[in-house]
């Protein structure tokens, strides 16, 4: 058995699968480049005492000469499957039951003013399945009858207006992918490491294709004073009637829109069905759900979540007010905290990058705690103010490794380190923590959330 490779999921080699010359070739190829893991794997075989445990994770050929999952045809290959429309609305496989949005115990005192975190460690690509989209409610969520929902526009407009969903859905629409991140995402990590997994460190983050009508279109319909009306109040129809001040300059750019669609269907109730504001690049609290009213004004509104919460306390005791932007940030989602690598060998390090100012230009990944970096591959599409997926090849040698990612956006801004961020903002800011995240892969394979100095 000494000719086994210890890299995970590699089929056990039959005896003499490489002759002496072949082995020599592998070794010489391995001296340079990506395949060096084969060499180290060969070397490890001779010395490591933990080998049996490691091998237990592989996919060796059983003594019977074949995998029973191959040799014995399963029921699903030998019988009739289920018919169409068994589920009028399809659900994930029963084997995906672990993939849930979850609360962080002790974070909030009530469930109605609370948060659930998206399971980023289990997601692929850039789109968050609507049922796993993170939740943030301020006074509980509702499933509102769309035939009774109204949107009002008033304030500095020629005529205050009322729109029904019927009318809004007649207007020219746009569909755009955008990330939404809570301003308090990663808040618990400002001072030190606090939570175990990427779901809880970064899971107040989601990305969807939203469909709706640019707010500027509605403002023009009402004859809004776009010159003197510098600030727009957006207000929800739920108990909290959430209000937030939206910059007119962003609305005039055409980016802000009133959405009814999410990932090809209507918004989910937890996301503001039937109408929510989309404010690309801005923290989630401004994306007013159950949107009922838009008011055009010439001054900011100092709403509760602009004058009590969602303000950033600076070291000198001043609060920064109206801090809305989500600056460039990234995180490795696998391998990530609380996961266990099954074995040494090849892995695809993957993660998400985003910027509230535009597109992600590049993402670098380090496996040695930030000493050396390699540039990751970006998956397409790379869209403005949307999540971008990155990947990087990695061969784990079984030794401790600290994995980090560092994003740069198309303004040239580079995601900061914790030291840089704390140097300016201190450690009591709560909001807008976009520092580089570190994951320590331990020799046991278990990954730990850490911060490095």
């Amino acid at each position: 058995m000494d000719d086994n490779m210890s890299s995970g999921r590699v089929r056990k080699a039959p005896e003499n699968f490489l002759d002496r010359d072949g082995i020599k070739t592998v070794f010489s190829e391995a001296k340079n480049g990506r395949r060096s893991f084969i060499r180290s794997a060969f070397a490890a075989v001779a010395t490591t005492a933990t080998l049996p445990a490691v091998l237990a994770q592989g996919n060796p050929v059983p003594v019977e000469g074949g995998d029973p999952n191959i040799l014995n045809l399963p029921q699903h290959s030998k019988a009739l499957g289920q018919g169409v429309a068994v589920e009028g609305y399809g659900k994930p496989s029963q084997y995906e039951v672990n993939i849930q949005r979850r609360q962080s115990p002790g974070l909030t005192q009530t469930t109605q003013a609370s948060v659930s975190f998206a399971p980023l460690q289990s997601l692929f690509g850039i789109v968050t399945p609507s049922g796993l989209h993170f939740e943030r409610h301020h006074q509980g969520w509702w499933d509102i009858d769309p035939s009774k929902h109204r949107l009002m526009l008033n304030g500095m407009v020629k005529a205050a207006k009322v729109f029904t969903l019927d009318e809004i859905m007649r207007l020219p629409s746009v569909s755009r992918f955008h990330f939404i991140e809570c301003g308090a995402n990663t808040a618990v990590e400002w001072g030190n490491v606090a939570v175990p997994t990427v779901q809880y460190t970064h899971g107040m983050l989601s990305c969807s294709e939203f469909t709706g009508v640019p707010l500027i279109t509605l403002l023009e319909l009402a004859g809004a004073d776009l010159k003197n009306g510098k600030f727009v109040l957006a207000e929800g129809a739920d108990g909290s009637s959430m209000t937030r001040t939206i910059p007119m300059s962003l609305i005039k750019s055409g980016e802000v829109f009133v959405a009814y669609g999410q990932n090809g269907e209507m918004l989910r109730p937890e996301q503001g069905y039937p109408l929510r504001l989309i404010v690309p690049g801005v923290q989630g609290v401004s994306w007013i759900k159950y949107l009922r009213r838009i008011e055009v004004g010439d001054k900011p509104y100092a709403a509760k979540d602009e004058a009590v919460h969602y303000m950033d306390l600076q070291p000198g005791g001043l609060h920064r007010q109206y801090t809305n932007l989500q600056e460039c940030k990234s995180v490795v989602t696998t391998p990530s905290g609380g996961q266990v690598l099954l074995d040494k060998g090849f892995y695809n390090i993957t993660g998400l990058a985003w910027s509230g100012k535009g597109k992600v230009k590049k993402v670098d990944v380090s496996v040695d705690g930030g000493r050396n970096w390699r540039t990751a591959r970006l998956e397409t599409p790379v869209l403005s103010k949307a999540l971008t997926r990155f990947n990087m090849d990695w061969v784990w040698d079984g030794k401790p490794a600290i994995i980090q990612s560092r994003a740069t956006d198309d303004t040239g801004f580079v995601q900061p380190t914790y030291q840089q961020l704390r140097g300016v903002r201190g450690t009591r800011s709560i909001y807008h923590n976009n520092a580089i995240q570190s994951w320590l892969v331990q020799e046991s394979g278990e990954v730990k959330n850490v911060q490095v100095s």
Partner: protein, 369 residues
């Protein structure tokens, strides 16, 4: 636009149809209508820092205390100090802060909390929020006088207005001039995505994308504490049972490589068996679920946790203390009361007798999941 005859014709048509905005009709006729003044009044409730939108009216600290004790104290505490349901509202401000408009405790890292009165710069914010969102389970139910009163009472708790104060739309600007953190805000930052505040454009940090030998040997400065490893539940159950990684089985101490995988699969199988036989226990569990849903729906869980005290006792503790006493519990749910578990009263509840009974049966039989 009146230069163009075509536009004039369109405007004439719109006027006939009862629409006012020429712009809208030209671009997208037939979509939207003018809001009536009555409709705007019903929804346009926001109050700005310059008091635009503030209704005429007044309310006294004394009246505010009554409102507070009936409608606010069970979540916020009698003195706005409670942190059980929401963060404390009052505390941490001083007479000196009222003079300077800056809260000194905000620079004191040893001071544990940041109360609402320590942070809020604008009295309009309090008025607006109380009016639109309070009380917690009955938002928008307070009268204008009640909002003035309860705002005045809250400010009185913080020593900002005297005991005999009557706050009104006439003197609210004087109250604003006493807000402890009124000078504690800045918009000189690069975090507002627009030019409306004339903020700064330069970001706080300037990292560079160094690629080689960037830092000396990195050291782990902060490590997930041992107690936090399993604090969010077993991480093996929060990851797929297959793929490049597993979740760590945090119900057990950290192990050697390979120690976790079989267990994780077992977890998945155990959780998904959809065709499990319906045992008596499962039937009971269905009733438990229905009762828990009712408790949620009737806002019981605002004050009672399933297995923890919030304002009132946890359901598990009630179940222990009053096991088997269905009628007593149903009666208590309907009538409310105080003194059994503590001084904070539970208000009488308005749910139906049948629903109260369902919840009481559930409690009397152990409040199971």
């Amino acid at each position: 636009m009146f230069k163009f005859p075509k536009a004039l014709v369109v405007i004439a048509l719109i006027a006939a149809a009862g629409l006012a905005s020429a712009q809208s009709a030209i671009k997208m006729p037939g979509v939207g209508r003018d809001a009536t003044p009555k409709e705007v009044a019903a929804w346009d409730i926001d109050v700005r820092p310059d008091f635009k939108g503030l209704p005429v009216g007044s309310g006294s600290v004394a009246k505010g205390q009554d409102v507070w004790e009936n409608k606010c104290a069970h979540c916020h505490g009698f003195f706005g100090e409670s942190g059980e349901v929401f963060s404390p509202l009052v505390g941490g401000t001083s007479a000196d802060d009222i003079k300077t408009g800056r809260v000194a405790k905000l620079t004191d890292n040893s001071f544990p909390g940041r109360t609402t009165l320590m942070k809020v710069p604008t009295v309009s914010t309090l008025w607006d929020y109380i009016n639109r969102a309070m009380p917690w389970t009955e938002p928008k139910s307070l009268t204008t006088e009640e909002v003035y009163s309860v705002t005045a009472f809250l400010l009185n708790l913080g020593g900002i207005v005297p005991d005999n104060f009557v706050m009104s739309d006439k003197n609210i600007a004087e109250v604003q001039a006493r807000m402890p953190n009124r000078n504690g805000m800045t918009t000189a930052h690069a975090m507002w995505p627009g030019n409306e505040f004339n903020g700064v454009s330069k970001p706080d940090t300037r990292n560079v994308a160094c690629m080689r030998d960037c830092v000396t040997e990195p050291k782990v400065a902060s490590f997930l504490p041992d107690y936090a490893r399993n604090a969010h539940g077993n991480l093996a159950e929060q990851n797929r049972g297959f793929g490049a990684q597993r979740g760590a089985d945090t119900s057990r101490p950290e192990g050697k490589p390979g120690a976790t995988a079989p267990m994780v699969n077992a977890v998945v199988v155990a959780q998904v068996s959809p065709s499990a036989p319906t045992a008596p226990a499962a039937v009971a569990s269905g009733d438990n679920k229905a009762a828990a849903v009712l408790a949620q729906k009737n806002n019981c869980m605002v004050c009672h946790g399933i297995d923890k005290k919030i304002v009132g006792p946890g359901f598990n503790d009630i179940a222990k203390k009053h096991a088997g006493k269905t009628d007593y519990l149903a009666g208590k749910i309907k009538s409310g009361g105080s003194g059994v578990w503590g001084p904070i009263p539970m208000p009488a509840q308005t749910l139906s007798d049948a629903d109260a009974k369902t919840i009481a049966v559930w409690l009397a039989s152990g409040a199971g999941k």
